[in-house]
Each structure stands twice: as C-alpha cells, then as structure tokens.
Amino acid sequence: MSAATTDTANPRKPYVRPISKTSWFLTSARYKSYMVHEVSSIFVALYMIQLVAGLFYLAAGPEEWESYLAFLRSPVVILLTLVGLVFFVIHTTSWFKAVPQATRIMRGEEVLPGKILVTAHYGIWAAVSLFVIILAWVA
C-alpha cells in the first residue's frame, strides 16, 4: 500500500481472542465463585426433587413413606444431604447478598439501605428455621 489514502485494500483484521468453552470460568476468581453459585443451584434443585418425591411417597401410603424414610437414613444419602446443605447455604447467602440490588424499596426520598434488607432476610430465614426446628421437636 502506498498511501493512507488508497482504498484498494482494507487493512483491517480484527483479532478475536479464543474463549475456551469448557474452562473459561477458571480464568478469574470472580468466575470461579460464579460457577460455585451456579453449581450450587443443582444441589438445591436435587434437594427439592427429593422433598417433592417425599410428598408423593407420603401420599402413596404409610409403607411407602417408611421406605422413603429408610432411604433418607442411609449413610450415603445423609452425606449427600449434608453436602447439599452446604451448597444450599452458599446459594442462599450469595442470593441474599444480591437482594438489595434486585429490590429497591423507596422510603420517602431515600432508597432503603441494602444492609437493612439483607439483615431482614437473614432474620426471616433464622425465624423460619427456628419455627421448623421447634415443629420437628414437638412432632
């Protein structure tokens, strides 16, 4: 090319950096925690399935319910449930952290401070958990 001004050839050649479809999330700490959050939702879902299944067993009659309980008592399932619990906590806390962003409550001219919202969520979580534990105790 002789001058800036000839438009015979277009000298552009934008370069697209490759992104690995399988390991991109290992490239930064932020993406790793993102993946943990995303993966945790699988466990949350599995646990939900287990609960819903329980309902069906309950509806099916006392024997089925007993077999379901026995299944729950097996060590492997207990272990899995514990792991699930950890992920459940991760999922819930990472979600709570985001709550103020998702819901903006106006109090007069001010946006309700995020801290209050988050604390309220934890408070409700604790209250409900306590209620469930008491129920389990009484029952």
């Binding site: 000298p11 934008p14 370069y15 992104i19 932020r30 998702a102 819901t103 001219e109």
Partner: protein, 247 residues
C-alpha cells in the same frame, strides 16, 4: 514529595498489518505515585514508542474511552492508580470479550448496535409542548432511576460478563440497564412502549445474575441490579398477562 519508581508495563500489542496474533511487549516506565495507568501509557506514547495505540480523552473517568484489562480486571486506565499497584509490574490488555482492532483498541460496533436497539430515549407518557413547560418529577421519582442513568458506556461490564463472553447475542449489562433507566423514569410510557426486546431471550433472561458487571463498574451503576429488577417486572407482567388472559 513522592519518590519516582520504575515499573514494567506489559502491554498486549497487536498490529493487524504485521502481526498474526497479539503478543506482550514490556516497557520500563518511570512513574509518579499520583499517576494513573493512563499516564504511564501516555509516557510510553510520548517517550518510548509512537506506535502504541489506545483510546482516551477526558482523564477524569467520565468519557468512557479508556476501559482496558489491567492485571486481568476491566478498569478505566484513568482511574487505576499507581499506588494500588505496588508490585512494580502492571499488565494491560484490551477489554475481554471484544475483538481487538489494534493494540488496546477494541471493536465496539456490537455494543453500539445493541444500545440503539433498546430504544434508549424517552417515550413520553403524556405529550406536552415546550411552551407548556417541564414535566414534573419529584426528587424521589428521580432517585428511582438516577443511578442507572450514570453509565458512561465504558464497556468494563461487558468485559466482565461471563454470559456475554459465551453468548454474544446477549444484549448485555449496560444496554439493558439503559432500557431499565428509561422504563423506570416517571415521565416514560414504560416497557410496553419500548417493546419486548428486553424480555426476549437475548434480553434480561440471558443474564444469570452473578453481578460481575456490578463489581467492576467504575461508576457504581449496578447493571446487575437493574437487570434483576427488569426480570422481576417482566415476570410479573407475564403472570398478570396470563391472569388477565392476554395472549
């Protein structure tokens, strides 16, 4: 008085007319403590290498030109202070998730198209001539969307967004936030008037809400929050639509 030290500035270079692919070039740059990374780049440009290209203008984090990856994080070069990089080595690359035009200059056509597509302008709820004066808007109504109007289009959030990296058709944080900014403006006719692009597959639902965008935003715009609110809105809308029996 501050001491001058010398840092190693590693810059990802790419000159399309001569390079097959990008490579790192290291410059030794004497820096002052109150400098920002942009000052170091300007030093390189003036004193060491006239062939280095990058965008900048305002030097006061408001024009949005100088977004780049600095030690792997999307940042404004004019808001990345030397004091925060004590190690003596700084690596700069063009923003992730965008094609490289040359050196630190990225191709941003895709973003500009998306910005245009969300109709980022007021669609007035009520028609009024200039002679009739301004629309009234209380400070509380202003505050509702104000934060979302602060976006400088620097594209740091796009560089951080895992979703955009994997699925380039995703409209992405800044453009969605801008749509939300107008949708929540008390003077605006709202999302129905703006069309359903935002609620479409490439719109808010493609965002998995991790908030990487909000973490890197240099203007605290909180795009993740805006998208999340828009989702809530579009979900509610869907439900009320079903109840009312539309469609």
């Amino acid at each position: 008085m501050t001491a001058t030290r010398t840092i190693q500035l590693e810059v990802l270079r790419y000159r399309p007319e001569q390079d097959a692919k990008p490579f790192f070039q290291t410059y030794a740059v004497p820096v002052e403590d109150e400098w920002v990374v942009l000052d170091a780049l300007n030093y390189v440009k003036d004193e060491l290498d006239r062939t280095l290209s990058y965008r900048w203008s305002c030097h006061m984090f408001v024009c949005g030109s100088c977004g780049m990856m600095i030690n792997g994080e999307p940042k404004l070069a004019c808001k990345a202070f030397m004091q925060d990089y004590p190690s003596g080595k700084i690596r700069v690359e063009p923003l992730s998730n965008f094609p490289i035009e040359r050196d630190l200059v990225i191709v941003q056509d895709d973003f500009v198209e998306k910005l245009t597509a969300v109709k980022p302008y007021l669609l007035p709820k009520q028609d009024k001539t200039v002679e009739q004066g301004e629309y009234l808007q209380t400070p509380a109504e202003l505050k509702k969307y104000k934060q979302y109007s602060l976006c400088i289009n620097c594209l740091c959030c796009y560089a951080a967004c895992p979703q955009y990296g994997l699925e380039p058709s995703f409209i992405g944080p800044a453009a969605l936030t801008l749509a939300h900014r107008y949708n929540t403006d008390s003077r605006d006719a709202g999302p129905e008037a703006r069309g359903d692009l935002v609620a479409a597959h490439e719109g808010v639902w493609a965002c998995s809400f991790v908030g990487a965008c909000s973490q890197v935003c240099p203007k605290d715009v909180d795009p993740a929050g805006a998208i999340q609110q828009a989702k809530l809105y579009s979900a509610l809308n869907f439900v009320t639509g079903m109840v009312k029996g539309d469609k």
